[in-house]
């Protein structure tokens, strides 16, 4: 009787945090992949509501983004700024600095390089010089746009999430003004005329060479984050600001530096979009990439190489959902729902990687198991036990 009462006192579900040694990297990857699968299954619910077979819909999404050469090129064009912004956000998020201003930093970069294209496009300057000027101006403008919130965060601990977001609206507002005011082509059109051919990025393999720039950034950023002192400092601040301060790091300076870098890379994304794809400036130059990049960054665990995969996945969903809309009339915003669910699942699945869930009955089993091993040990150790004991102690020693 008393035994039963004791049993009821143990909670039905108990959680405990796994220690480092209990984390199994293969299991973690399996959990993450299955969470993506779960997300795609959950994402089929809205498709079902419109009366379309989800399997067929996913088929159309894949076919509509990779099916032929033109679709593939469009998907890659979509992917380039997305990947670039994700790379930019990576170090900020690593630092636990919630920069959601990629949209504005991209727009700022786009505005700056458009200014160069408009002022010098018609001059006799060689193309390569104009393009490099545009590149530099985009970097500086984007960097400044990122630096401002970084400065105030470092100095006064101003809320960076809202600051960077408001900077988005300001950059987009300025682009809107330029589009309808000083740079407007014919009065009343709200369109800036196409820039001179000299400001176009050359094509490589059918897509503008922005993809080469972005792939270079992938390699550089991975090196920067994992192999340099700067990357290490960023990681330490992300884990604990106090530790960083205690170790003598200048947290404020690192924050400003990282934000400038992040903004600069977003600026490059703006340059690539203007010089490579649009050849003009408008207020939707960022096209939501700055926000989707947050999803990409987080889904890829801030790993630059994984970002290529994830941005490809999201570009496929985004481009494919447009085809889906044209063919069977499912609203294209299904892409946003799916990417939201993907992010939810990915965030949720970390729990199953980091925590152990013990049910009441599994606890009983554990107790029995330990009892039996204890008995075995008492009865004289077998070969298996002998080998397992040093293994355990060595783990503890670590």
């Amino acid at each position: 009787m008393s035994d039963k009462a004791k049993k009821n006192k143990t909670p039905f579900i108990r959680l405990s945090k796994k220690s480092e040694s209990m984390l199994d990297p293969r299991k973690a990857v399996a959990i993450r992949i299955s969470s993506v699968v779960v997300a795609l299954i959950l994402g089929s619910i809205p498709i079902l509501l419109t009366g379309v077979n989800p399997v067929k819909a996913y088929g159309i999404i894949v076919q509509g983004s990779l099916g032929n050469k033109i679709y593939l090129q469009q998907t890659i064009k979509k992917m380039i700024p997305l990947l670039c912004c994700a790379l930019a956000i990576g170090p900020c998020f690593k630092m636990r600095f919630w920069n959601i201003g990629a949209e504005g930093q991209l727009t700022a970069g786009a505005i700056a390089c458009s200014a160069i294209a408009i002022w010098f496009g018609k001059s006799s300057m060689p193309s390569i010089l104009i393009l490099s000027l545009m590149f530099i101006f985009a970097i500086v403008a984007g960097g400044i746009w990122g630096f401002i919130p970084g400065y105030f965060k470092a100095k006064y601990n101003t809320n960076e999430t809202l600051f960077t977001l408001m900077m988005n609206y300001i950059a987009i507002g300025i682009a809107k003004w330029l589009q309808g005011g000083p740079w407007e082509g014919r009065k009343g059109t709200q369109i800036i005329p196409i820039f001179d051919r000299k400001t176009f990025l050359p094509n490589v393999l059918g897509v503008h060479c922005g993809w080469i720039i972005v792939l270079l950034i992938v390699i550089i950023m991975h090196y920067y984050m994992t192999r340099t002192k700067h990357g290490f400092e960023v990681a330490v601040i992300g884990d604990s600001e106090n530790t960083a301060r205690y170790a003598g790091m200048n947290v404020g300076w690192i924050m400003m530096r990282t934000m400038f870098l992040s903004g600069a890379i977003c600026g490059i994304a703006g340059f690539v979009v203007v010089a490579g794809a649009n050849h003009t400036l408008n207020d939707v130059v960022a096209d939501g990439n700055g926000f989707t990049a947050i999803t990409v960054s987080w889904l890829s665990q801030l790993n630059s190489y994984v970002m290529i995969l994830i941005s490809a996945l999201l570009a496929i969903i985004s481009k494919g959902s447009k085809t889906l809309n044209q063919r069977v009339g499912v609203p294209a915003s299904v892409a946003e729902i799916v990417s939201g669910i993907l992010l939810f699942c990915m965030l949720g699945c970390e729990f199953f990687i980091n925590y152990e869930i013990k049910f009441r009955w599994s606890r009983d089993k554990d107790a029995k198991k330990s009892a039996s091993t204890a008995e075995q040990a008492k009865n004289g150790s077998t070969d298996g036990n002998r080998s397992s004991i040093p293994a355990n102690t060595s783990k503890e020693a670590e």
Binding site: L15, S16, K17, P46, L49, T50, F93, W98, I100, F152, Y156, N157, T158, N159, T161, L162, F163, L165, M166, M167, Y169, I170, G173, I174, K176, W177, G180, G181, F291, T292, I294, T295, W298, G329, P331, S333, V334, A335, E336, I337, V338, S339, G340, I341, L343, F344, L347, G348, E350, F351, Y355
Partner: protein, 328 residues
């Protein structure tokens, strides 16, 4: 001077949406949950409020529909949508202990996606657009006070000339203020937000408080989205018209120093800023640049709020942090 009074009087409609958004988020943040997904939840509230009102009318017919019941349905529909969004958020952050910032951003993506999806789907299904009949539209805009009160010079229109949602918002703000300061449950809720470990040790069910606060807070925020579509946007679903309202609400929470009563005048101020370019015209100043004024002001406010390190005006100490009992 008259222009300024006219501006403030006209701002009430826009301010109401901000007010609900802000008050809901204050409730959520007081429990220690930083839900940055207000934008997404207001989008969801906007579309589901409209759809429930529209479905109600389709059910009973245009002649049989009653304004009061339509408003009730719209409130319930948007509140339920916000509750569900809050539930998702609470499940992921409280139970699964995921990062609150990123979960909030995911909620923004998800919520706007759901709202756009439903809006477009309904449009395809009904042909044309989703709306309600004219007499229901009127009841959403109705002003409850008699005309002679509005004729009081200067303040008459500001105080008595607002749509009924405005007064409902003020009522919710006052109730929330009383809840925080006068009731035991409100004290417990604040304890959960300030120090969950202490609250847990005192035997307060921290999980339940966070879940309920996030759900109800989300519901209140979502009502704000409904108010926006039913008043400012004129009972039709315009994609993107709600854009930025939710984020301004999150900024307003900081501006109001987590106090519901400050939310009333704070939202009036920001509502005025949002429509100022229509009322106070500055010659030769481009309108597009004028329109970014509220965002510039928000940044200035954020900076000033952070510069003044006032002890009274701090966020809940544990805002944005998850609690795990076995962790120190």
């Amino acid at each position: 001077m008259t222009a300024i009074f006219a501006l403030i009087a006209a701002a009430g409609t826009y301010a109401t949406a901000l007010m609900f958004g802000t008050i809901g988020e204050i409730l959520t943040e007081k429990s220690g949950n930083l839900n940055l997904g207000v934008e997404g939840m207001m989008y969801m509230g906007g579309i589901f409020g409209l759809v429930t009102a529209n479905r109600y009318e389709a059910l009973v017919g245009e002649t049989g529909s009653v304004g009061f019941i339509a408003i009730l349905f719209a409130i319930l529909g948007s509140f339920a949508a916000g509750c569900i969004a809050g539930l998702i958020f609470a499940f992921i952050t409280v139970t699964l202990r995921a990062n609150q910032n990123v979960t909030g951003l995911a909620m923004t993506t998800f919520g706007t996606g759901v709202a756009k999806f439903v809006g477009e789907h309904m449009r395809n299904k009904l042909g044309g657009y989703v709306s309600v009949s004219n007499h229901l539209k009127e009841s959403f805009h109705q002003q409850i006070f008699p005309d002679f009160l509005k004729r009081i010079p200067f303040v008459g229109k500001i105080v008595f000339g607002q749509p009924h949602f405005f007064y409902l918002g003020i009522l919710v703000a006052i109730l929330l203020h009383l809840f925080f300061t006068k009731t035991k449950k409100g004290l417990y809720l604040r304890a959960v937000g300030e120090s969950p470990a202490t609250a847990d040790a005192a035997g307060i069910n921290m999980t339940r408080y966070r879940y309920l606060a996030t759900m109800i807070g989300g519901g209140i925020s979502a009502i704000g989205g409904m108010v926006y579509t039913m008043t400012t946007a004129g009972c039709v679903w315009i994609e993107g018209s709600l854009s930025g309202v939710g984020w301004l609400s999150v900024a307003l929470v900081i501006f109001c120093t987590w106090r519901p009563l400050n939310g009333i005048w704070g939202s009036m101020l920001f509502g005025s800023l949002m429509i100022m370019y229509l009322w106070i015209i500055i010659p030769f100043f481009p309108q597009e640049l004028y329109k970014i004024l509220p965002y510039v002001v928000t940044i200035v406010v954020l900076i000033i709020a952070s510069m003044k390190n006032n002890k009274e005006k701090q966020p809940p100490a544990n805002l944005g942090l998850n609690y795990f009992r076995e962790e120190r």
